[in-house]
Symmetry: C2
Subunit: 349 residues, 2 copies
C-alpha cells in the first residue's frame, strides 16, 4: 500500500532529469526531420515563441514519457535504449492535444494561445498530423539503440492500438457533450480509452523494452492503466475546482462545453428535486453561460460530486498500488513509481 505521508504536491525531482532527456531526444527527432511546419510544432512544445524566436516554456509534466522511463528502470532496463519510445509517447500525446484544442475550441494551453488560435484550424490540423508521423519516426529509432526488430514491431503495434483507443475516447468525450444520460460506467469506459490506454502503454513499453519477464510487464501495464484512471478523474476535479494559475487553462471550460466529467455525471445522476431539474436544464443548452457556471459548481459541491470523484480517484490509486505490490520488485525499485502515483493523485496542476 502507498503511504500517504509520501504524497507530494510538487513534481518529483526525477521528473526534471527524465524530462530533460526526453526533450533532448524530441529535439533531435524534430531536427532530423525538418519540415516547413516545424514552427508550429516547436511553438507547441514550448521551444520557441510564435514568431520563431528561441524561447523556453514549460509545456507539460511529461507524465507519459517519465512513466515509461521509470518503468524501464524499475525492471532493471537501460533507459537510454528506451528514450525513443518515451519520445514517441510524448509525440502521440501532443499530437492529440493539438487536435483536441481545435475540437474543444480551446484558446489557451499552458497559459499560451493554442496552435489553432495562432495559425488557424486548417494548419493546426496539419501540425497535429505531422506530429503523429514523428511519433512513428521516433519509435523506429529504437533499432539504432539495439532493440531487436521483433520488439520494435511489437512496440509499434501496441502504441498504434493505444492511439486507436485514444481517437475513440476523444470521439466519445465529444459525443457525450450532447447527452444527458451518460452513466458512470459509460464515463469510465470513455476515460479508459481517452486517457488510461496511453498511460498504460507508457508503463507497458518502458517495462517491455527493459525486461523479458512478461508477467512483470503486464503488472506494470495494469499499474499504468489504474493510474491513468486516477489521473483523469483528478483532472476532472481540477477542471472544476482547480486554480487557473495552476491548471494553465481557464477553469470552467469543461462546464461551459458541457463535458461529461465525473462530477457532472455523478451530479446529473444523484441530484434530486430542483437541483436535478436545474442541472438538466443547464446541460440541455448548447453552451453553459459564464454566469451559470458558479451555480453548476455549487450544485455539484452540494450533492457531493467532488468528494465522490476524489474518492474514486483514490480507489484507482489504491488499485494501481496493488498492481505495483504484485510486481514483487524491491521497494527501492518501486519507490519512484510510487512517488509518481502519489504526486499524480495529489497534484493541484
Amino acid at each position: 500500500m502507498l503511504s500517504h505521508s509520501s504524497a507530494k504536491h510538487t513534481l518529483p525531482e526525477f521528473f526534471i532529469s527524465h524530462r530533460e532527456a526526453v526533450q533532448a531526444e524530441l529535439k533531435e527527432i524534430v531536427n532530423d526531420n525538418p519540415s516547413a511546419l516545424d514552427n508550429m510544432l516547436r511553438y507547441h512544445m514550448g521551444w520557441q515563441d510564435e514568431h520563431g524566436h528561441p524561447h523556453h516554456r514549460e509545456s507539460g509534466k511529461f507524465v507519459r514519457s517519465t512513466l515509461c522511463l521509470l518503468s524501464c528502470q524499475a525492471v532493471g532496463g537501460d533507459i537510454s535504449q528506451t528514450l525513443p519510445a518515451a519520445a514517441a509517447l510524448e509525440l502521440i500525446h501532443n499530437f492529440s492535444l493539438i487536435h483536441d484544442d481545435i475540437e474543444d475550441a480551446s484558446f489557451e494551453r499552458h497559459q499560451q494561445p493554442t496552435v489553432w488560435k495562432l495559425w488557424g484550424q486548417p494548419q493546426a490540423i496539419n501540425a497535429g498530423d505531422a506530429m503523429f508521423t514523428l511519433a512513428y519516426l521516433a519509435l523506429l529509432r529504437l533499432r539504432k539503440k539495439g532493440i531487436a526488430d521483433e520488439k520494435v514491431i511489437h512496440s509499434i503495434n501496441i502504441l498504434t492500438k493505444a492511439c486507436a483507443e485514444l481517437c475513440e475516447g476523444q470521439y466519445l468525450d465529444i459525443d457525450f457533450e450532447s447527452h444527458l444520460d451518460v452513466t458512470i460506467s459509460g464515463y469510465l469506459g470513455m476515460i479508459r480509452k481517452k486517457t488510461a490506454a496511453l498511460i498504460a502503454t507508457s508503463s507497458y513499453l518502458g517495462a517491455y523494452l527493459g525486461t523479458e519477464d512478461k508477467e512483470l510487464v503486464n503488472s506494470l501495464s495494469r499499474f499504468g492503466e489504474k493510474l491513468g484512471m486516477a489521473y483523469q478523474i483528478r483532472d476532472d476535479v481540477l477542471g472544476i475546482w482547480g486554480k487557473k494559475e495552476n491548471v494553465g487553462k481557464p477553469v470552467g471550460d469543461d462546464i461551459s462545453q458541457r463535458k461529461k466529467t465525473l462530477p457532472v455525471v455523478y451530479g446529473l445522476e444523484n441530484s434530486t428535486g430542483k437541483h436535478k431539474e436545474r442541472l438538466k436544464k443547464l446541460y440541455s443548452q448548447k453552451h453553459i453561460q459564464n454566469e451559470d457556471i458558479t451555480e453548476v459548481v455549487a450544485i455539484l459541491e452540494q450533492v457531493g460530486a467532488r468528494d465522490y470523484a476524489q474518492d474514486l480517484s483514490e480507489q484507482y490509486y489504491q488499485q494501481a498500488s496493488a498492481q505495483l505490490d504484485a510486481t514483487m520488485l524491491g521497494s527501492s525499485r518501486q519507490a519512484p513509481l510510487r512517488e509518481t502515483a502519489s504526486f499524480l493523485l495529489e497534484r493541484d496542476y
Copy 2:
C-alpha cells in the same frame, strides 16, 4: 515511349479487380478493429450511408493501391502478400482527404456531403486520426503474409516519411493561398510533397515487397513520382476545366479558395497589362466570388495557362515512361503500368 493510341479515358479493367481485392482487405481491417467512430469511416469509404445503412458507392479510383499492386506484379511479386501495404496506402490517402475536406471547407466529395459536413469538424478530425492509425495496423498485417520483420519495418519507415511529406505539402498548399508570388518551382516542390511522394511510395512499396532488386525498386519509385506529378497537374486542370458530374466536386472551388494550382501560378506570372492587374486584384481578396470565377477562367485560358499545364503534365508523363523503359522489364510486364499512366494523363475525372 508510351504510344498515344493506348490512351484511355476510362478506368483500365484491372483497376476493378484490384480495387475489389483492396476493398476486401480494407473491410477486414476495419472489422478487426471495431470502434465507436467506424460509422464515419465506413461512410467516407462508401460502404454505408450516413445513417449507417449498408450501401455501395464508388469512393475513388484507388490509384495508389492499384499502382502498388501493379508494381508488385511487374517485378514478379505475389500481390496477395502486398495487399496490406496497398490497403495502408489507401488509408493514408483517405485520412488525408477527411482532414483536407475540413481544411478546405469542402462540402462535397464524390458528390456526397463530406464527413465534417455531416458529423461536424471535431468528430471529422477524430475520424481522420482513427483512419491514420488503421494505416499502421494495416501495414503490420504484412507479417501475417510472411513478409520478414526487416521489410515490415522498412515499409513503415518509407510510408511514414511519405506521410510527413504529405503533411508538409498540405501545409504549403494552404500557405500558398495567401501568397501572390508563388513560383512554378515553388508549386512543383509543393505538389511533389502533397501528391507525388505518396504515389512514388505506392510503386516503391509494391516493387520492394515483390523483389530484392533495388535498382528495379528505385526505377519504379521514380516512375511513381513522375506519374504523381503528372497526376496532380491533370487534377489542377480538371479542377478548373473539368465537368462537375465527372470530377465529383464543384468545379471552381480551387479558384474560389485561391488555390495556387499550376494554371493560376502560370497565369499570375505570365499575364500582362490589365489581365495581370485583374488577376492580382482578384487573388488579393480573401475569397474569389462566384461571379468572378468565369473571368479568372477566361483570363487563364487566354494567357495559355491551360495548354501550359497540359504540356507540363505530358512532360512528366514522358519522364515516367522513361523510368519504365529503364526497368528493362518485358513489355507485357510493363503494359498495365503504361496503361495506368496513360489513363491518369488523359482522364476526365
